[in-house]
């Protein structure tokens, strides 16, 4: 497990030291392959859980790492084509930063020590902020500054929340530790007012990284200005790991007997996120910002799913995988469209379906998948969550959920159809930016996985989602 964290970090150093900009993207591919092999090896032969260990390969880590490693591999292949086309830009920081991000994300997934989780979360913010500035213009600079400042504020509050939690366990009979297992074992011995305060601060802190409304304000700017590949890794990767941190804290909060309070807080932020996304998606002309609001929406769906408990929680973990991979399809194909037209506004971009025979239709298919159309994976995970809401007698929650999703479907459809349909002959054209296998192949592969997850969900995966949900009192 340590190797899974150390290998990308070591390769990041190689990338920083490497003199050749042309060969450097290959280091990224090597990192992705090593990571994927490592995750598969761990899945095949899971290491035994050790008492007092800081790292553990639990179901939560399995679900999210499996998603992230697939997404990272696709992004690394895509980067070979993308960075070759962007030979005008120095890619040293970009390649190195992505590998540091991979290492930090892996640490968050495996860490059972809340202090270590915090350190890795902060490292992920710092390694990605410079990458948003890859295009080196005034707009991407603004996005990077906002991302850095809002992210740092959130993460500082999360540190305060972590301290609160440590304090809650500092009393006589308390665990005096920040290991999740110790805190869970202490349960009722934790000081409840401090656990409550800790949950609020940690939810705000890691919720900022997830991009839950009203803490999402960095998201449209960052996703709008960053290269598509970074958008894919933030929206499909990093936000999932912020969610994992929230879930671990939620686990402790339940054990301390404050579960009802935490569920209400998650539900409120979740509904607010979906509602806000519905408002801003309608009439959105910038298709990359539209994807950012879609990401806010799906973080809201995860929060609601975890809050509901039961099968809805298992559905939420299924949804982390579906959302992560589909966001990869959307951001990578949107990046191709942005490149080919030199614009990301529907005022100028038309007929992507004809000019880019792969990326255009993939963008459309990704949109259908993410808005919950059958037979793609997200339909089934969202269905599990809605079903859970109605099954638990939460008719208002289920009704609002469906209503917001319908508005978002209509709003996104208007923007996406504008981009894909029509005649591209009068739209701006950037030479040498057509679809190639390196840039359109990875989103195609991810799309096929999303389709496969909908058509046939292997029993092993289904059990895994159930096992992850069981940590916070849910399950199929």
């Amino acid at each position: 497990m340590v190797l899974l964290i150390a290998a990308p970090l070591a390769l990041a150093l190689v990338a920083f030291a490497m003199p050749s900009a042309r060969r450097r993207p290959l280091v990224l591919l090597a990192g992705a392959l090593v990571h994927a092999a490592g995750v598969l090896a761990l899945l095949a032969a899971p290491p035994p859980a050790r008492e007092g260990a800081w790292l553990a390969f639990d179901p939560l880590a399995r679900v999210t790492l499996l998603t992230a490693t697939a997404l990272f591999l696709a992004s690394a292949v895509y980067a070979q084509g993308y960075l070759a086309r962007r030979a005008d830009r120095d890619n040293r920081v970009f390649v190195g930063g992505l590998l540091v991000l991979l290492s930090a994300m892996t640490t968050v997934a495996l860490s059972h020590h809340l202090g270590l989780t915090w350190v890795a979360m902060e490292a992920s913010t710092l390694s990605t902020a410079p990458l948003i500035y890859f295009n080196q213009n005034a707009r991407s600079l603004e996005a990077a500054w906002k991302y850095l400042l809002i992210g740092s504020l959130g993460i500082a509050l999360a540190l305060l929340g972590t301290f609160f939690l440590a304090l809650a366990g500092a009393g006589p009979g308390g665990p005096k530790s920040l290991l999740v297992e110790d805190l869970l074992a202490a349960g009722g011995a934790l000081s409840r007012p401090w656990v409550r305060a800790a949950f609020v601060f940690l939810l705000v802190g890691y919720g900022t990284k997830m991009g839950l409304a009203p803490l999402h304000s960095w998201k449209p700017d960052a996703y709008g200005e960053a290269p598509g590949i970074l958008g894919a890794l933030l929206a499909g990767g990093l936000t999932n790991f912020a969610f994992v941190s929230v879930v671990r804290v939620f686990q402790v909060t339940i054990a301390a007997g404050e579960g009802a309070f935490a569920r209400d807080a998650l539900m409120a932020l979740g509904l607010l996120s979906i509602g806000l996304a519905a408002v801003f998606v309608v009439g959105q002309r910038d298709f990359k910002r539209m994807l950012a609001y879609s990401s806010v929406e799906h973080m809201g769906i995860l929060a609601i799913g975890v809050s509901l408990g039961g099968a809805a929680t298992a559905g939420a973990f299924f949804h982390t995988m579906n959302n992560g991979l589909t966001k990869g399809v959307l951001f990578l194909s949107a990046g191709n469209i942005h490149r080919a037209f030199g614009s990301k506004s529907t005022d100028e971009v038309h007929g992507a379906g004809r000019r880019l025979p792969l990326s255009g239709p993939l963008f459309l298919a990704g949109f259908l998948a993410i808005t919950g159309s059958p037979p793609f994976g997200p339909f089934f995970s969202e269905f599990a969550i809605v079903n859970g809401a109605f099954g638990a007698g939460r008719y208002w929650v289920g009704g609002l959920f469906l209503a917001f999703l319908a508005v978002i479907f209509v709003g996104m459809a208007a923007t996406v159809l504008d981009v894909v349909q029509g005649d591209p002959s009068d739209a701006p054209r950037v030479p040498g930016t057509g679809d190639s296998w390196l840039t359109a192949g990875p989103p195609l592969a991810l799309m096929l996985v999303v389709l496969a997850l909908g058509v046939f969900l292997p029993a092993g995966l289904k059990d895994l989602f159930g096992a992850a949900a069981a940590l916070v009192g849910g399950g199929w």
């Binding site: 270590l116 490292a123 603004e142 500054w145 301290f163």
Partner: protein, 215 residues
Amino acid sequence: MTSLTDLVFILVVVIDFFLLASSRLGAAIRAVATQGALLAALPLLLLEGGHQVGHVLLLAAGALAIKGALIPWLMFRAIREASIRREMEPIVGFVPSMVLGGIGVALAFAFSSRLPLPGGEAHPYLVPTALSTVWSGMLLVVSRRKAVNQVLGFLVLENGVYVFGLLLTGIMPVMVEAGVLLDLFAAVFVMGIVMFHINREFASLDTEKLSALKD
């Protein structure tokens, strides 16, 4: 010893107020550096008995080096290169932000007298100082326009969290504390780089100019 510790806590809060009222960036950076140095002394002053001396010394030395010396040096470089001296028009004026700061301190004292500490006795000023410093830092970040001042606000916020963390020196492993300090330094370093680019792009460090992106 107790009176000295009291004095340090009071000085930390006074510096919060000074920052909320100050328009000169150079003085503000010096104040944050002083606050950092005072905070570095705190773990030594709060040390009881003889246990964990090594841990506490490491923490104090790390805090002094990073909060008291390295970060202020970086900030001075930033304002020298951008040749700015003052915050002219904050979003929230200096007097209103002082008043808000005062309310925050009062609330912090009220809050901490209500909520008992599960870990037994701690210095009575510790929690209120931590919370009011966190609050002042938040105020500084949201109410100032100059990027340098926003970073200083972030530092003050982190200082507040650090004070709170002193309750936990027995619980937090050294590795995590070192990670926190290192992350703080890296954060300011990256912010410094971004500020350098903002200055080059706009010939100013005014975040007012960063307003092209909105819905």
